[in-house]
Symmetry: C2
Subunit: 399 residues, 2 copies
């Protein structure tokens, strides 16, 4: 979907052509309906835990309301390195970490570093629509490579990725565990992707924000999904975009981080200076607390997601005409309904007939046609009730 161009005003084509979010399309249709169960966005039901908010309050009370370090306060960069060491079992370095205003800002900054007009960037799809959006706004050309299928569900076809690489290709966007499909790369797959990128001199923009949410034990590495960190050298051309949103229920806070080779430090600082000019110190203090004291809360979040996944699968996977591979990771179910082609119409129909809000698959690009994304990181009762309402409607649609 493209925005209506404001013809009375001459604006840049990148801005005029930025795609609107197809998820918002469904939300606008269903917003405000009494009793609607909203499973359309990637957000849990829990507000941010109080101990994280307390750290913000303490910082505010101490008068930390002034300009701050563009790269992030030293305490948060150190805490990110320590978290990285705990999670990934290898030495880290605070100089690799740059605090951003959320994962989206990290993504935007990564893209500005590596791609612009005349450049192509490969994005396996279905994918989070903001990858395509941010590339478009930057004037780069996103090249969608639809994912294939294996007996495990969705699968990245590396030959197809390789075939899409041309002289203008600058980067691969690799999201694992993936939104919306739940696809989760194995260590071997990541090694193969890295090898491909190295051979072609490409950057990898790695979105591993759902790394703690891995549901297939065969794909788990020490309780998390495989990461490029398991196969790369520190100096490899890998940019990690990360967020506090999912693990710590901080979607509305807008705080995340970019991890990059320290040699890029000055360029990244400049991009931050000319976009956000830093992130509020009181928000960063809360982020430090999330990293240091948030593990038991993260465990609850993961347990929520796992229970939601179970409910969705028990309730929907058996419906004749509904195709739903069990997602290996993240917290979305992405399913298709036999005979359905217009996922926007389908999402609206489910709002009307089941009073459940899902995201239309076409919003996620090629491969998403006729599909729907359901976020199951919600209260178990709500997921149960949503499935109870969806099942008969989906059954009749596919029947």
């Amino acid at each position: 979907m493209n925005a209506q161009l404001p013809l009375a005003y001459p604006i840049r084509p990148e801005a005029a052509q930025a795609p609107t979010s197809g998820i918002v399309d469904a939300m606008s249709y269903g917003r405000g309906r009494p009793g609607l169960i909203p499973l359309w966005v990637g957000e849990g039901h829990r507000p941010t835990p109080a101990f994280i908010g307390d750290a913000l309050r303490a910082s505010l009370a101490a008068g930390e309301t002034f300009y701050t370090w563009q790269r992030g306060i030293p305490e948060l960069r150190a805490a990110l390195a320590a978290y990285d060491e705990r999670l990934n079992g290898r030495r880290s370095d605070p100089e690799r970490f740059y605090v951003t205003m959320g994962g989206m800002h990290a993504m935007q900054t990564a893209i500005r570093l590596v791609a612009g007009p005349g450049d192509e960037v490969i994005v396996p799809t279905p994918a989070w629509p903001n990858f395509i959006g941010a590339l478009t706004v930057a004037g780069a050309t996103p090249v969608a490579v639809p994912m294939g299928h294996s007996e495990r569900g969705w699968a990245l076809d590396l030959d197809r990725v390789a075939a899409a690489i041309g002289p203008r290709t600058r980067a691969l966007v690799i999201n694992t565990p993936a939104n919306p499909t739940g696809w989760t790369a194995s260590r071997d797959e990541l090694a193969a992707i890295l090898d491909l990128a190295r051979r072609h001199g490409l950057w990898i923009v790695a979105d591993e924000i759902y790394g703690r949410f891995v549901h297939d034990p065969a794909l788990a590495v020490g309780g998390r999904a495989a990461s490029f960190k398991d196969v790369m050298a520190p100096e490899d051309r890998v940019l990690f975009v990360q967020t506090f949103s999912k693990n710590w229920a901080m979607t509305g806070w807008r705080v995340g981080w970019l991890e990059a080779p320290p040699a890029l430090g000055q360029a990244i600082e400049n991009l931050l200076q000319y976009s956000s000019s830093g992130t509020a110190t009181f928000v960063q203090r809360a982020a430090v607390t999330a990293l240091e004291d948030g593990e038991s809360f993260v465990a609850e979040q993961i347990a929520d997601a796992r229970e939601g996944r179970r409910i969705v699968h028990e309730g929907l996977a058996g419906i004749e005409g509904v195709t739903l591979a069990p997602p290996s990771g993240a917290f979305y179910a992405f399913f298709k309904v036999r005979g359905a082609h217009d996922s926007y119409a389908l999402a609206r129909r489910l709002i009307d007939e089941a009073n459940v809000g899902l995201a239309p698959g076409e919003a996620f690009g090629p491969g998403g046609e006729g599909g729907l994304r359901l976020c199951y990181a919600r209260r178990a009762e709500d997921v149960t009730e949503a499935v109870r309402r969806l099942a008969p409607v989906l059954g009749s649609l596919a029947g």
Copy 2:
């Protein structure tokens, strides 16, 4: 000053060429010196008043930690329109207002709307370095037009601006009252600038963030500086970038707004979606409170600035060899020292010899050579002491 290019990594030229902030250069040199009086950044000494922080705390306690409206919460957009009506005495419309993560983010968004590779944008200089920085990062070409001088001090030479307009010119960046010079446009000057822009089909990016800080009564319109709002029609191609930073001492909060014709709404929403993905609701609640209950605090801020301005002028304007026109608005003194050409060296010398931190004039582009910017929106005792220390050093330098 250009960043060192990280040669081992292929990054975009716009990112590699983004200028580093020359202000940071001085700050890095002086940071941590005992007793240093820092007048280098545009920031007052007061932390955010408690009643604004209280509004954040209430929102946080209410669990407002989820994703929110990309354009800003309706309550803040309505409060911005009401503030606009009070300040400017004409009807406003909440649909013209888009909440951003600070004035810089508003500026970045405005630039992305109107300029990119192949486009030129005119910036009168000396100017806030981030105009040039944001244009460079966007791939646009900034065209600096040095300001001239009149009997009132700095002056915009409209003929010179007109002469700089070419077939690739897309916009004029007009900052009044200006950082760093204090230049403040009269209503007639703004009408002439608007007329020029209309004739050439150009956008105006209007930075009027210091509009409440007008010190020359002849230039004040109802207690504020003249604004494009006094001369334009709502549908004119004017984009206002604004911030809560200065009036309400919220520099570290990173919240501001963009005002634009409502026809651009979807394009702006998309740019926000793919950069910040919105601003924290709890920060927006605090911003509503600042607008609604902050007038007496703003009056204190203005009084602080006016007292600082008086102290600086009494202390420095009489020094032989120091050129300091009384700034009409904003809260900076920009002065030159006879015989000084390297403002970076000058700023370092004043750190070493006076233990006062000023911003080097070259950081502000053509016209700033050999100059220094002093932010006087500080505690009167500190400004007094800074002037006491600076006067003899400047006197000997210029002597």
